[in-house]
């Protein structure tokens, strides 16, 4: 009886908590506002300023020169190449990652599923620099890959692999493959495999069943995985720096050089803003695509 009475009066108790919810959020709001949003706004402002002389990094007048600079030769080429490398990395990760996620999700026992999944996650938890260095060691002139190819008689001279775009592509694929596998695995794990049998019974071959049943229903995982690979590869810095040398420059390296030594801060800021715009566009694309995929799947009379 008393319990019921107290419950009935509960809305009153929670009034104070609504205000305190804000108090709990304040430290995070302040920290992010001061050390994340404000710095980004400063970069935005500087991207419209002019480079000063004698140690002054930026000064008036206000100009859009930096953006024109960044979006014309030679800088714009770096942007196109980075977008190309990021897109190609995403496609390669998808080609390797999709069947791998499928393989993990279709393991019969729970233990094997966890083990095969764990073997994908573990490299991803280790230090990024060390992983990139490991690829550099593999691709070196006297590294295991070249030595093996020479011992097999396939090549006479060691191939120049480090400091090429190919090395950057390989390094990025290696680093971000787990990002592709995990969301797809989550999608495939929920997939009802009897639907494939149904499609087969209705006369579809495996390819058709895959394209018309499996792929559409696991599309949310594919989209999520692709965006998780695409975004960090657009902004990659370490991989092209260590594996690409002067051949595999990406936006990240372009930005960094503008802030080191005799760089140009306003130009670097503009490049940084354009890169952020690219990332935002990719995110908006993701939100729109995943909303559409969810809608199409809901319309389907299956599940």
């Amino acid at each position: 009886m008393t319990l019921e009475m107290r419950s009935a009066g509960r809305p009153g108790i929670y009034k104070g908590e609504k205000r305190r919810g804000l108090a709990l959020a304040l430290p995070a709001m302040l920290w992010l506002g001061l050390f994340f949003i404000l710095p980004l706004l400063i970069v935005l402002v500087i991207s419209f300023l002019t480079r000063g002389t004698r140690g002054v990094q930026f000064t008036t007048p206000v100009t859009i020169e930096n953006y024109i600079d960044i979006l014309s030769f030679p800088y714009v080429d770096v942007f196109w190449e980075s977008i190309g490398i990021a897109a190609l990395t995403t496609v390669i990760c998808l080609i390797i990652g999709y069947p791998l996620a499928f393989f993990i999700a279709t393991r019969k026992s729970r233990i094997m599923q966890n083990l095969t999944l764990f073997l994908v996650i573990l490299p991803f938890w280790t230090n990024f620099l060390v992983r990139t260095y490991a690829i550099k060691v593999m691709l070196g002139a006297d590294g295991p890959l070249n030595t093996t190819l020479m011992n097999l008689g396939l090549i006479q001279e060691p191939l120049q692999l480090v400091n090429t775009q190919l090395a950057v592509l390989l390094g990025l694929t290696y680093s971000y493959l787990p990002f592709m596998v995990l969301p797809i695995y989550a999608s495939v794990e929920r997939f009802e495999f009897r639907l494939v049998e149904a499609a087969n019974d209705l006369g579809a071959n495996d390819l058709r069943a895959f394209l018309r049943v499996v792929l559409p229903l696991t599309l949310p995982g594919v989209i999520a995985g692709s965006i998780l690979v695409l975004i960090p590869t657009i902004g990659a810095y370490i991989t092209p720096d260590i594996l690409g040398g002067t051949q595999g420059l990406m936006i990240g390296n372009l930005i960094t050089t503008q802030f080191r030594g005799t760089g140009n801060w306003p130009r670097g800021s503009a490049a940084s803003m354009v890169m952020m715009l690219l990332v935002m566009l990719a995110l908006i694309g993701y939100v729109m695509m995943s909303a559409r995929a969810a809608l199409t799947n809901r319309r389907r009379p299956v599940e």
Binding site: S7, I96, V120, L122, Y174, N205, P232, I255, S269
Partner: protein
């Protein structure tokens, strides 16, 4: 099971047209698919693991090159701890250990701050209701998706502007250092902690808190006696994630660290950007060991929850 069978329309036996060509083609497609599915994991796991395992192996190789195996040695590890790393003149064991110490200090302080602030904001987002909540929710995801390089340079500019202003106004000589590194690490770690803790909070039944309140506990008591014990695994997971990210971070630290406050990744970067030597392989192996120990601890502490991360 029976229901599905009933729902699956099967053509009447007489209606099937046996087209030998189609059957042969379908079988070929199935075979190609099977071969692909069998081959892909072998290739993928080899691709993921061969570089790491070979790196570890070659750190024990009795040869300066990584071309062939010439026998076991601990020479390179001994070198690392005796001030020798190939041709690197700038290397010193002291500097390495000092940067490792810096990494640990930065990691611990940043983790404590990020875990506290992150848990608080997760609680407020899960249970509170205030104007701007949705905006804050979106804002929290930004540090996770914005490229590290953008965060790095924006913090560099920010600290430069602020330090210039402070030093000119007050005549001080403040510069980049532990403070700026920790501020940067907390700025991205708050989001990770908040996301992990929030996931845990949304799994929790809010009726438990209501029951505690109904039984007469005040908010403070309800939090410490009911809510907190239930979200502890999430808080631990979040803090371990934050510590790992802080310990591994290179890009942001690279921009906001000052003289004498080099962290281990920044120190190692200087070494491995330039050359490949067996000593660097040894250092890399030690870092891999450190990562593995951290993950092992996380797994032991969290059990099954760890997989969800």
């Amino acid at each position: 099971m029976e229901q599905t069978a009933a729902l699956t329309p099967r053509p009447a036996p007489g209606a099937i047209e046996f087209n030998q060509g189609k059957i042969a083609r379908d079988m070929l497609i199935r075979r190609i698919g099977k071969i692909g599915l069998a081959f892909n994991p072998i290739f993928a796991y080899f691709f993921l693991w061969a570089p790491i395992l070979l790196l570890v192996l070659f750190s024990f190789n009795d040869s300066r090159t990584v071309a062939t195996w010439r026998g076991f040695t601990l020479q390179w590890y001994a070198n690392v701890f005796n001030n020798v790393v190939g041709t690197e003149a700038r290397f010193s064991t002291n500097l390495m250990l000092q940067s490792f110490g810096n990494s640990i200090v930065v990691g611990i302080v940043a983790t404590i701050l990020a875990t506290t602030i992150g848990t608080m904001v997760a609680l407020s987002l899960a249970r509170g209701n205030f104007p701007g909540k949705r905006l804050l929710d979106g804002l929290l995801f930004l540090p996770v998706v914005i490229p590290e390089i953008t965060q790095g340079i924006s913090l560099l500019i920010f600290f430069n502007v602020v330090l210039d202003f402070v030093n000119q106004t007050f005549g001080t000589t403040a510069q980049l250092g532990f403070g700026s590194i920790i501020i940067g690490h907390v700025a991205f770690n708050v989001s990770y902690v908040a996301i992990v803790v929030r996931a845990r909070l949304s799994d929790m039944n809010p009726k438990l808190e209501e029951a505690a309140r109904d039984l007469g506990a005040n908010e403070w008591r309800t939090f410490w006696r009911v809510t907190f014990p239930l979200i502890v695994p999430g808080v631990i997971a979040g803090s371990l994630l934050a510590f790992t990210l802080s310990l591994d971070d290179f890009v942001i630290t690279f921009f906001v660290s000052g003289v004498g406050t080099t962290t281990l990744p920044v120190f190692v970067y200087g070494l491995l950007k330039l050359s490949v030597t067996p000593e660097i392989n040894a250092i890399s192996t030690l870092i891999l060991l450190l990562s593995t120990l951290l993950i092992g601890t996380a797994m032991l502490l969290l059990g099954r929850d760890a997989v969800k991360l």
